[in-house]
Assembly symmetry: C2
């Protein structure tokens, strides 16, 4: 028998390792779901240790010298397409993990964990000064980490590549420029209009009623219950691989439409997972592309299906039945598209002003990471930009720069929310060349829409880089033009501006 | 600064590894809970891969050469008590894992997985012949594994030590002899008596009603809801560490008392976990002793609390309220103690005949593992012993030797169910020297009982070996005398024999 060629061995070994890493990562995901949805409160100390042990073994398996050797062995070989994807994706993960000394990883993890506690108290006290020192430490540690990864690059770009490796930050900044240019005047016009929308469902609705409604809505969207669940969580999220993509929602007694929109959003995330190829589970080809692309799927279903007039022509009778109401579709359509720029809290923002919150955070953190502003200047800079973008000024740090926990987890990750919305609009525009989207939605025929997204996005896994995937799916690079057009047209019509 | 002495390093390193192994094992436990309680059916392939990846990394961390070196370094040192426990327990785990070649582990795992499928079909078809070849393979693989672990010992003893390392099999066999001697005539007497007990709750009760009842019962037992949950599962079980010990139960519409007894049983398991020291989480001192000792806690609460007349004097009004009944305590006491030797199914057996099922299985598998009977002789031997022990004869393999899945998981593990019952009776007898158990139970004062068990059993973790722990707690080695005395007294009074 002939000896197997070494390139085959290295590729197989690397594929096995990639699978093991993916399985362990999904194990962590399932434990995190349990922690947020099912775990009794007292379980927290044990779960923290379990997740940390998993994270350590995963890191060790990834930075194993063997992985470096397999990657080196593959570097000069002729690889088939699937092997190239494997080599590119594992190579990137390996380098980013291996180049950072484990002492630094440990210090960063510990500081992040401390910072979460400090942030919680600082937010409760609305006292940025008590958070500033640890935020400064975090910035320094992230800069050190970035310099280990790539000493020659802009550290903020290196950090941005953690979440979105294949979309140049420059492109994202151009998109933000376009959005500033168009959204700020549009929001001003909407503020100036006399139009006011209110929800036709003005009662108080208990959790069981809202849950039954949300279940029926995702039922109509054909959510695969055999591969998922719907539960409640304080901050809704989706987690799990293609075989088990679970969604969560939350209820406020006076806002059942909010619960529906949140559920449809998470359904969108799950539909991406469900569209990944089963037989590539564990391989990069069986995994979603990036957080920005993932967000495009949730935003697509939330905004380009769930916030359309066609959808409410279909879904209003369902909601009326559950909530014992008699709203007409136009009323619901208007209610779910209400714009309220006076809001200062990102997670409560409407579809439009939301992006100004994102751009503001990106501006502030980029300046802070670059050293253009000191930590003590953050609150003032935040409030100035809020005034500039939305015409409101936070009255304290809790409703200003302390509102989000994200900086305790890292920098340069907010952008992907807006990348998702912009990409969703671009996908919607492309899909409309192939499908009568409104006609299908009006009839509750969501299958062809999901299939289009699976064909053009989900089924590829990580075969393409993000910019390649966007070009493959839409025929052009990521652009904000479609989002601007969609927003101007929809809100222009709704608000008569 | 002085260099740290090497024995400290090895002990610390070993303790860290022990913790990491425990955390990963608990992570697997939480994933298994999810799989049996929450997971959508389609999630099975992914969960299987996640659990298998966890099992591989755990095995690799345990059999790491460093572990062997740390153990060697500790072998000749003066260790403090806690370090001795660590060295003994990790040493045992390491040796049992390290001595078995990984190829054999892989083959065994794969054969076990295949065997489960074959068993399911064979049971459905009631066709032992189709299961026999894989059962034969399993026996051979287990014999091979036992020979790697200890070539000079009786392989069946080696296998028994998987689950109960510190209780000589010989002692267990003596206990079985005592039980055969006393239980067989006692069961015959009960069969001959005219007494028949029926449940006073003869309606059909829905799941919600039964769940509310079970919740209130464990509430009265002071189950710590902050560190646990109660859900349903097809086969009730308990899982999780001291911070998060979850229990499950199941419902049959016509048997609410069965659900209560099953819930109290699992509560007993959880009370052991809850009694382990928090600050030793991950160390052997923070883990339960063995499956036999664990079963003693579930059987204690199920039988020595839940099946006493005193308990029903306290709990009958609670059940009456939930089930809209008017039973008196004596009726319920009689109903939960009904003996029905005509039953051929272990999992449906009563408190007394249950042990004959266990002894039967141990007899058959011991003969099979020793080669005294061939695989094809198992059904006949099973049926003969069932006739000898209980005076009934299975009519087919499905209600005979195919009824339990256990052999697909391993041999020599059934004994621990009976060890648990026998130890529960021994603990009960000892406790009665210190506490007025019946008086406390009658008043619903369960705290002192739980505290006694925590002090004498739970709080020690794995400090003592099993036989040491039993001596510490009860003043003598494990004996069946107390169980026999308890059974003869209770059933003698109930059945008037």
């Amino acid at each position: 028998m002939a000896t197997e060629p070494p390139e085959t061995d290295a590729a197989d070994a690397l594929a096995d390792r990639a699978e093991q890493l993916a399985y362990l990562s999904d194990a962590s995901g399932a434990l995190a779901w349990d922690q947020r949805v099912m775990m009794p409160e007292g379980g927290a100390p044990a779960r923290g240790k379990q997740l940390s042990a998993l994270s350590t073994v995963t890191h060790d398996l990834l930075t194993d010298d063997e992985v470096g050797a397999w990657l080196d062995a593959l570097a000069d070989r002729d690889l088939d397409d699937d092997q190239q994807v494997l080599s590119r994706e594992l190579g990137r993960q390996y380098e980013r993990a291996d180049r950072v000394p484990s002492d630094l990883v440990g210090e960063l993890t510990e500081t992040q964990s401390d910072a979460q506690q400090v942030w919680e108290q600082a937010k409760a006290d609305s006292d940025f000064d008590s958070f500033a020192p640890v935020l400064d430490d975090l910035r320094d540690l992230h800069l050190e980490r970035a310099s280990h990864i790539d000493d020659s690059a802009d550290p903020y770009e290196v950090l941005f590549e953690d979440g979105e490796p294949y979309l140049p930050l420059e492109r994202v900044e151009e998109i933000f420029d376009t959005l500033r240019e168009h959204l700020i005047p549009l929001i001003e016009e909407l503020k100036a209009s006399d139009t006011e929308f209110t929800s036709p469902y003005s009662g108080e609705y208990d959790d069981d009623t809202q849950m039954a409604l949300c279940r029926e809505i995702v039922d109509h969207l054909d959510y695969d219950w055999d591969r998922g669940r719907l539960d409640t969580a304080p901050h809704p999220f989706m987690v799990g691989p293609q075989f088990d993509a679970r969604i969560t929602t939350r209820f406020a007694a006076d806002d059942p439409l909010g619960a529906v929109m949140s559920t449809v959003h998470e359904f969108g995330h799950a539909s991406y997972q469900h569209g990944l190829p089963d037989d590539q589970y564990g391989h990069p080809l069986g995994q979603s592309r990036s957080s920005g692309v993932h967000e495009s799927q949730s935003r697509f279903w939330e905004n380009h299906v769930g916030r359309t007039e066609a959808f409410w022509e279909y879904a209003t009778p369902i909601v009326n039945e559950h909530l014992d109401g008699d709203a007409d579709p136009r009323e619901v359509y208007e209610a779910v598209n209400r714009i309220y720029p006076e809001n200062k809290i990102r997670v409560e923002a409407d579809e439009l002003t939301y992006h100004m919150h994102i751009i503001l955070r990106s501006d502030v953190e980029r300046e802070f990471v670059a050293g253009d502003i000191g930590v003590e200047e953050i609150p003032g800079r935040w409030n100035d930009l809020m005034d500039e973008y939305l015409g409101v000024r936070p009255e304290n740090d809790a409703e200003g720069c302390l509102q989000d926990i994200h900086w305790t987890g890292g920098f340069a990750s907010f952008q992907n929310y807006t990348v998702g919305s912009v990409l969703a609009a671009q996908l919607d525009a492309t899909m409309r060349d192939d499908l009568d989207v409104d006609g299908l939605v009006r009839e509750g025929e969501f299958g062809p829409i999901r299939e289009w997204l699976t064909e053009h996005v989900h089924s590829h896994g990580q075969r393409y880089t993000t910019d390649e995937l966007i070009e493959e799916a839409t025929g052009e690079p990521l652009t904000a033009d479609y989002f601007v057009e969609y927003a101007e047209e929809k809100f222009g019509e709704l608000y008569g501006v």
